[in-house]
Symmetry: none
Subunit: 135 residues, 4 copies
């Protein structure tokens, strides 16, 4: 499982782990029933503390995204079917975008300004990522 932590981010490490696990499940990279790395494994891999990973897993468990089986490990919850996962993924992405639109709104930008900036930034981003995805 490839998780990347940005240690200078405002978002706490445990929340970064949560987000990425959700995204990987939603993307089908982690499928229902798949075992997640053990807390100790992931902590070692990311060079972070055991408790930080445990915190992330506990919250994912509570949210029903993963299930914990005593003494055996942690697994992606079985409940989610494909449609549900696609929905999950979609909601996460929408959430991010809406948050930025809401923020722009709060700061009093006009619809025209936002629309223009959106298109410009998206184009720039697509250009940047074409390159990096080909690597």
């Amino acid at each position: 499982m490839e998780i990347r932590i940005e240690s200078d981010s405002r978002i706490p490490i445990y929340a970064q782990i949560e987000d990425q696990v959700r995204a990987m499940i939603a993307a089908g990279q982690l499928r229902p029933g798949n075992q997640l790395p053990t807390i100790r494994q992931l902590a070692a891999e990311l060079r972070i503390n055991y408790n930080t990973v445990a915190h992330a897993y506990m919250e994912l468990d509570r949210a029903g995204v993963i299930t914990t089986q005593r003494g055996r490990g942690t697994f992606v919850a079985e409940l989610l079917d494909k449609a549900e996962m696609a929905q999950l993924r979609d909601r996460q992405l929408c959430g991010i975008l809406r948050a930025s639109l809401k923020e722009a709104n709060r700061l009093g930008y006009s619809t025209d300004e936002v629309a223009a900036a959106f298109h410009r930034e998206l184009s720039r981003w697509l250009r940047e990522n074409e390159t990096s995805e080909e690597e």
Copy 2:
């Protein structure tokens, strides 16, 4: 001056104030030379701590956006010409959008997904705001 604080946001209150003051200046709602409310006034109005407002003003002062004149009050800096303000405004908006694109990237969304979601959410947002801006 109408500032709205979201107390459940992850963004610190002082940063919310800074963002909004910058936006109001950039939008021309606050013009060079205009006086800002005193720290005490704004703190009372927003029902937040004196130090929180002081923190926001101090950073805006450091950034040269406002100037503090001892015993007289706080004013929008005279330095900024129109071009500078437009630039300021633009940078802020870009920052918001780029942050959301970076986030989407981090969570492993494909460029196609992001582009599609961007257009969809922007359209939705434009529709919502047509109505509300006519009020």
Copy 3:
């Protein structure tokens, strides 16, 4: 032997097994001298770890409820007469009820509240179980 495990319960699996074996003996579903499934059988049937079943059997053995005969298997203890079994059964049930009363106490509910809730919930439960027991 029909044992049902609730994997999301706070009660450890081995304790769930113990409880249910005791209950079955007390209820006369398992009689003195009856053979219990082997540890391996039960573990396979319940899809749980061998050691978990072994733990439950070991404790039941220590308590004198079952006897283990090397190479032959595990059997319900002969010692228990009817009165003893009735007592066993009663104690178990009392334990459950007292635990819930103690919990209510801990959380500061008044005797009136508890008494009222007890009667209401018991009535509800009796109604539910009339139906299901006729099946």
Copy 4:
């Protein structure tokens, strides 16, 4: 705030705190807007670790029972009106009782047995608590 911890209980300390805070709110001992003791205060009072209390508060916050105000402290959520609180209280008590009935069910006790035991244990408990409440 009077919270009692049973350190030999199966229930984790943080969960005991959560339960009791909920109960106190539901009982009206803690009212909407009331400030809870700070994490440090409660930890000192109960002679437990800062983090254990923080864990309990974090979960109560997430559940919307309390709200955390940065740098100021933690308060009972305002949302809850009297009816809601009574409901909360009722649900908690029901939950306890139903869990014990479900447990009895699982262990194969007949409705008659359970009904008899319920009345007997409730009477015993009422007798015990008459005395102790007069103290």
